[in-house]
Structures are given as structure tokens and as C-alpha cells.
Subunit: 278 residues, 4 copies
Amino acid sequence: MEQRVRVLIDCEDAKGLVYKISKIFYERDLNIDSNREFVDKEQHKFFMRTVVSGQLDVSELENALREIAPENARLKVIVPQRKKIVILATKESHALGDILIRHEAGELNASIEAVIANHDTLKPLVRRFDIPFFHVPTEGLSREEHEENVAKLIDKNQFDYIVLAKYMRILTSSFVSRYPQQIINIHHSFLPAFIGANPYKQAFERGVKIIGATAHFVTDDLDEGPIIAQDVIPVNHRLEWRDMQKAGRDVEKIVLSRALNFVLHDRVFVHGNKTIVF
Amino acid sequence: MEQRVRVLIDCEDAKGLVYKISKIFYERDLNIDSNREFVDKEQHKFFMRTVVSGQLDVSELENALREIAPENARLKVIVPQRKKIVILATKESHALGDILIRHEAGELNASIEAVIANHDTLKPLVRRFDIPFFHVPTEGLSREEHEENVAKLIDKNQFDYIVLAKYMRILTSSFVSRYPQQIINIHHSFLPAFIGANPYKQAFERGVKIIGATAHFVTDDLDEGPIIAQDVIPVNHRLEWRDMQKAGRDVEKIVLSRALNFVLHDRVFVHGNKTIVF
Amino acid sequence: MEQRVRVLIDCEDAKGLVYKISKIFYERDLNIDSNREFVDKEQHKFFMRTVVSGQLDVSELENALREIAPENARLKVIVPQRKKIVILATKESHALGDILIRHEAGELNASIEAVIANHDTLKPLVRRFDIPFFHVPTEGLSREEHEENVAKLIDKNQFDYIVLAKYMRILTSSFVSRYPQQIINIHHSFLPAFIGANPYKQAFERGVKIIGATAHFVTDDLDEGPIIAQDVIPVNHRLEWRDMQKAGRDVEKIVLSRALNFVLHDRVFVHGNKTIVF
Amino acid sequence: MEQRVRVLIDCEDAKGLVYKISKIFYERDLNIDSNREFVDKEQHKFFMRTVVSGQLDVSELENALREIAPENARLKVIVPQRKKIVILATKESHALGDILIRHEAGELNASIEAVIANHDTLKPLVRRFDIPFFHVPTEGLSREEHEENVAKLIDKNQFDYIVLAKYMRILTSSFVSRYPQQIINIHHSFLPAFIGANPYKQAFERGVKIIGATAHFVTDDLDEGPIIAQDVIPVNHRLEWRDMQKAGRDVEKIVLSRALNFVLHDRVFVHGNKTIVF
């Protein structure tokens, strides 16, 4: 079938990998539409993302690649299609709103299956877009019980990624390990500066001249997951911490959307606690 | 005498300060060439930097201002002139070199009295500019003894500021307290991220997408002094830590020179562990 | 009445202005909450924006200020309140969407009276927010006739500013002169580079390494009005012009919202074809 | 001989290029140390820069590659070595100084063969570094005569590139065509904004909020050559044009050095009036 696929390979580095892989494409008369590679020399790891098009059979191609790939290679042949996401939020609307507007314009490259929040503040906004909104209150519940309720709701959906669009609760290890490399968070500081609560207040008190935001995969270690995207803006002595918070929102939403764009186009490899973004 | 002076006031906030101060300028028929104020409302502090010109007597003006200023006000009337600096360095030439070139071009607004280093690597470079270079070796000396040698050399000069242009040794409290608000350092990270040794290695290992540099006054707390200027550049997975280090040098030298420019024009107020930069 | 007002003065520079103005505040026992001044020395113009609070009568204060202000001074005492805006758009939703989300969150500091568009593409989006949407088609109409229809609709509203949120039609002099210093546009390039149609295509063809966006007041001269805000992002050879266009949208919406924020807080003075932004 | 070389290929795009090229590396048992490709789909052009190491014979490798490369391919196998540059300057020292400091530190990856200037202002600075300085005065000479004198001096040197480090004279077509793709200029604006004389004055008069610098290859069309690198800094109403000029110098020198770094590592392909920078 005439089609275009994304080939992702992530394996031990070895001589001849590019040759062997491109040979497979060549023998099938495929076009290479774009190609990015990277070798981490310290760790002897090879990463490649190639977009090929032509008459191809996905499983046949994947099998051929698997035969020449080193053992334990992570290998994917992906037919591009809109991925599915579930969003977790709390009260702030800027990051969620940015995603909703892109979604509405058909520019998100994903469909939003549900928005789940621990407050009902954002319900009217989400409902305006005819997207399912679920309020999961925390009152009277342990962290584990609340998360269990959230997880049940999440699991009712088919989804590729869970997006924390300013979800202001810390997730337990148990929750995080349920969705490995599937949870993307926007942290409201230039990590690793100002880990933890109220980073704008911390930034204000430290008197920094620049503030930022960090989109990262969520892992067990709070604010320590692999960073996907970061950006910053200048600030000065005239901004109190609430002004910084307000100014920071623009960076947060842009950085989260930029990270989502990378992830939804299969442009991100996770490697230890780092990412390779092609 | 017809002249132009910088008036700096830093005091408890009080009603009528602008009025009372501008009245003094008005009564003396002075021009206000530029004027910046800031009120820290949380701490009830008032900061003002005004450049006035006209027929004026510096001590008369200062006395008049002192009379209307709140008790404990820090008040300065400064006749602009080239300040004097002593530079401490180690082996890297980029930050020092940037200052030397500006100095040579008459654009530094300061004269370099001496360069003192714990290695002799930079001696040829400094000598090219006919500036006194002193090598103070560390071998066989305790930190305190070495610092004592450095301090003796510093104190032989008249100077306004000590500039650490990539001086790679940690200073003792005792040394720092000898030169309060006079020591300016360039730290090779976006503080408070990556405090301590080898921040580029730390940045590489954390997988950040942005690296930076921070110019700050040196206080007792390592890397915790008031920040004067910061800037950043984007990086990606292709940079190993030595590449980051190399790329970071441009930011370091520009940020240090920018901070120096602020300080040498009396545009920086220190307030707790923060700065107001006008 | 106990209240807080913004005092804006824009006049010929003269000795003693700060003194005379602050005297008026002092005599009325007003607090100066913030104060910014600027003197354009080349043009001998004085600009000041002061926020004062206390027991005050707006017209009394304005009269007092007018008495001491130079002739032809532009002087305003403004009681802060949500301003009203009318938005003109075409088909793209990113800039409009960003404003709608801020509006919904109560963070816009303005109320959107109406959205008027020359296409009906954005009608569903605007309707989701219960904001009046008017489609004014261009078919069969001269530029002047179409503008007349738009202007009639605009004039049915009370409004302070007209915001062109990617309104892709060139306005006639006659339309522009009807709303002096009231029309704010977002141009999709770093002006003055790439004036005119399809700036991203121009940028792509020129091979620039940075693209940007410019928010400005609209004047008779196309793309020549006073600039309020600008920002940029890096690009490279891998981006085709449609990729640049896509990447540029984030800059466009952020720059427009930043400019709106300045204007809606009365922080912008227009001075010839430039702005002073406090 | 065990060595590392840079392979640069620039040709019509064709199916199987990556395969055929990587096959040649594979058959010779070479390591691919880094690899970047780009296909300009609109123009059907293929660009590749690969660093390979191992037992290799440069001409044998080049011949093998030429056999499989499309007709008219530009193909180079480069043994990395310090390139040679000649610098042209006028009076300003910041861009030249930055290069001299890097040169002195062994970080320039090039040797400076000579500095040629139309004024003798920079002679003392250049002499400090024991680098040949030649003053070629313009008095009493036509543009062509002056250029002839400059060219004669240039041609006495072996050199790879001519660097215009703020050389403030317009070059004739005849001069430019003598050194195709060998002349690198730093223009003191974000091109294509503010082409021509005194861009900072133009920027000031236009009231922009950002200024920049552009490093580009020099072609016949003034300020229209392929752009290698650009960067910007924010400015505001408080900067007069001379302040902008001063602030801009940091951007100029950093952008020029960044562009030089790309060029000296053979990372730049010129393609029409654009560059591909790997």
C-alpha cells in the first residue's frame, strides 16, 4: 500500500547501522522524506527517526528492520495518525485553553478524550468545547483513593498520553508507574531551579532576572523526569511574585504545546533521564 | 560649578519623598536628565536614581537631601568618573579577554588596576595589554594563606570593585566580608540551577534544553549573592558537556560585561539578597 | 473619595515638571503607588505615568494638574476599569482564541463587545463563548462598501480599541482615520522586515534564521504604525514557509496579547511613529 | 591511515543516496561519528555532512563517492585542519577583538594571517597580538584603486576566508566576484530590516523593540547574501540610537563568531541565497 510511515530505532550503537537500515529502505524502493540520527558516544546508543514513503507493508518493514537491528533494539514503524490524550487540570485555564483552541482549529494533531480536574472551576470552559469534563473531588479522600478515582476515569478512555495542564497535585509513584513515559507535565519554573511548591515565589525571593517553564515526562522523582522543552522570559525587580506568575503563564502554555507537538509527532526519544528531540 | 551628578537614594518609603527630593532639585534650578524610582511595597523601601545637571555644589546638595531624607537613608551624590577594578582570574581567557578589549577601546568605563590569578596561564594575554599581572600560586598554602596573599595584592591598589572573571576558587567568609558588595562574580549556570562545581556537567546530566550564566555580588553564601544579570542560550541533545561549556562561554562573558556596565554606572541597588537595576 | 487613579502626562519638557506634579500629589496627601517618567531629549518631550491613591476627586485633580502643565499638554486622570474592545478577524483562530481564553478567565482586563469577520470560519468558535459574532462578507462589494459595513457594526458598540486579530485585509486611509490610535494590529513578521503580503514566504525565501511578530497601532501607512511589542523565535533550513507560518503563530498571539495588556493598562504613549511603553 | 574526515555532499536528490553513501563507509569499515542530512524538497536538492573515522585514503574515498554521486554533485572529503583567514576592519574593535581573544586562546580553529584596515585606529590592538596589520588608506583613491590595493595584500596570503569584522565600506562586484563564497560579513541589523547605512539610526527612528545582527556571505547584492547566523536583543524607548549601537555590539561580535565557527568547521552549505547549517 502506498503510504508514509515513521521509523523509530533506538539501540546499542554498532558499525553499519545506517547502511543496513537504508539498504532495507532502498531494496523496497522507498523514499526517505526526512532522516535524523544521533549517537550518544558516551553511552554507545544509536537513535534514528526516518520518515519513508512508498509501497510498503508495515509489518513486513518492521520485521525486516528487526532482523538487522541489534538485540534489545526498540523499534517502531508508525503510521501517522491523530493520537488520543486525556488532560488533567486544576483551576488555571491558560495551558488547558491553549490546547483547546489548537484542538478546535485542528492543529493539535490529537483528540482530547476527556478533561479530569480536582476542582470544577474549568468545567464551563471545557463544556464550551463539547469535551467531556470530569470533576474528581479530593475531599475526604486519601491521596491514593483520589488517584484511584482519577485512574479509573482515565482508563475508561483509549489514550496515548496523559497531559498535566497545570495539575497542581503531586502524583504517587504507584500512579506514575501505571503510565510509564505517558505522562507529560508542565512545571512552572526553569528546572532544575525552583523544584517543588510555588516556584514563582521562590524565584521572586531569589531575585532572578529570568523565569521559565519546563515540559517533562513524569517519573517517580518529583520534577526530575526527562525534559522535553524549556523556555524563559526576562523579568525585573518591578515584578512581584504574582506578576511573575502572570507573566510566566505565557511561557508555560507555549512550552507545553511545543512539547506536545514533539511528542505527538513521535519526535521524542527517552534515554535515561534525558530526551533526544528530533 | 556646572556639572552632572548621579543622586542615589535608598530608604524607608514615606509619603512625599518624590516631592521633597524634586523640590530640592527645583530650588537649585537643576535639570533632571533621567529619573528612575521603585518602591518595594512589601518591604516599604524606596529606591531612586536621578541624574541632575546644572550649577551645583556636591556637598551642599547632599546635605540638603540628607535633611529631608528619612533616618538611615543611604544617600549618595556621585560625580561620574571612571571607576577602578581589580580582576581575579584562573585559566580561562574569554571573560577576562572581553573586559580587556572593552578596556582597550575605552568602553569599559573603568580602569583595570591589576589582574591577579592563581595560575600563570593568562600572563601573556594580560601583558599584551600592559596591565599588571600577578601570579599568586596556591601550592603549599592553606586557603587562608593564599587568600591573604591575594588580599595583600588587592589592597595595594585603589579600587572600587573586584571582578571574578572565572576565578575558579571558592572564597572564604573572611575574604568576602573584607570587601562587602564589592566583589562581582560570573557563575557559569542559570542560578539557582546547578549551584556548585562543574555546572555544565550537571546541566548535561540533567538533560536541560537551555543553559545560562549569572553575574552576582559575592556574599558569604556560595552562589547565593544578589543577582545582577542573567542570560541563557538554547542547547540540545547533540551537545556533550564540553560543548555546553564552550557554548556557555559567550553567555558568561556577555552577562559579566553587562553586569559590570550596570555597576560601573551606579545603576545597581542591593536590597537584601536582591538587586534593583535601573 | 478613596480611590486609585492613573495620571498620564505627555507634554513639552520643562524644568520643574516632576516637582510641580509631585507637589500636587503631596498637597492632597496622595500615595504614589508607582511612577515612571521619560524625557525624549531630542524632541524635548516629557512623558509620565503615575498611579496615585488616596482621598481624591478626579476632576479636581485633573484641573490642578492642568494648571501647572505646559500648554498643549495631553493629560489624563484615569479611573481603572475594564475597557471595551471590538475584534476583527478573518479565518485563523490562534490570536483570537488566545484573547477569548484570557477573556473567559477574567485576565484580559477588557470585555469583548463583538467579533467581526470577513469570513464565517470563526463563528462556531466565537459562539462557544457567547460573544456576538458578525460575518461581513466582501463578495460583490468594493473595499469602501465593505469597510462601511464593518464600521457601522463597530459603531453600534461602545469600545475603546479595535483589535485586528489576524484580520487579513488592508484598511483604507478613510477607515483608519476614523479610529485614530484605536486600532491595534498584529503583523506576522519582525517589522520592518517583510512588509506586505505573506511575510513567512518572504522570510523563507530570504533564508532568515529568526522570524517574529509585531503588534502596532494602525496608521495610514501600511505596516508603518507605532510599534508596541515585538518578539522572535529561531528557525532553520528545515522549516518550509508553512512550517514557519505555523511556528510563527505562537509568537503572534503572545505578542498581540502582550501589546493589548500594555494598552489596556494605559501604559502606552504614542509619540510620532513610536511608542513609550511604561 | 587511521584518520577522521568530513564528507560533504551537495547534489540533486535521488533515491538511495543515503544507502549508496553509507555502503561506501560500511565497505571500508569506517565509523560514522556524526551524520546530518537535509533534502530541500522544493528544489530537489540533497545535502549531507558526515564525519567518518577509520583506516582510510582520502582520494580513494572521494573517488568511490564520486562514482555513486549524481552528476554535478559537489563533493568534498576534508581532513580537518585549522583554516586561514584574513580580516578586514575599519575602526571598531569589538568584533575584531572577540576574534583576537579566541585566536589567542586557541579556540578560533583558524589562524589569522593578516588584518587589513582602511584606518590605522586598530593598529595598536592588532600589534599587541603580534599579528600583521596593514593600513590601506583611501585618500585620493577611487573605490576600485583602493580595493585593488586591498586585494593585492589579501592575495599575498594563503587564506580560506576573508572576514569583514565591521569593515564599513561597500565592496564592488568586481572585488566580491574575486572571492566567491569566501567573504563573511557581519551586518549590524536583523536583515532584511534596515539594509544600508546606519541601521541603528534607522531602527531608532522606526521605534523597534528589538535590534539584531546578521552574519552572511557577501555577494554582489549589498546585504542580500546567504545568511549564516542571526541574533537579537530587546531594546526600548530609553535607548537613543547611539545606545542601540553600543548594545548591538555584543550581538554583532557573538553572531560573527558563531558564524565563523560554523564555517570553519565546514558546517555550512550555500544553496542559492540561503544556507544549510548543520
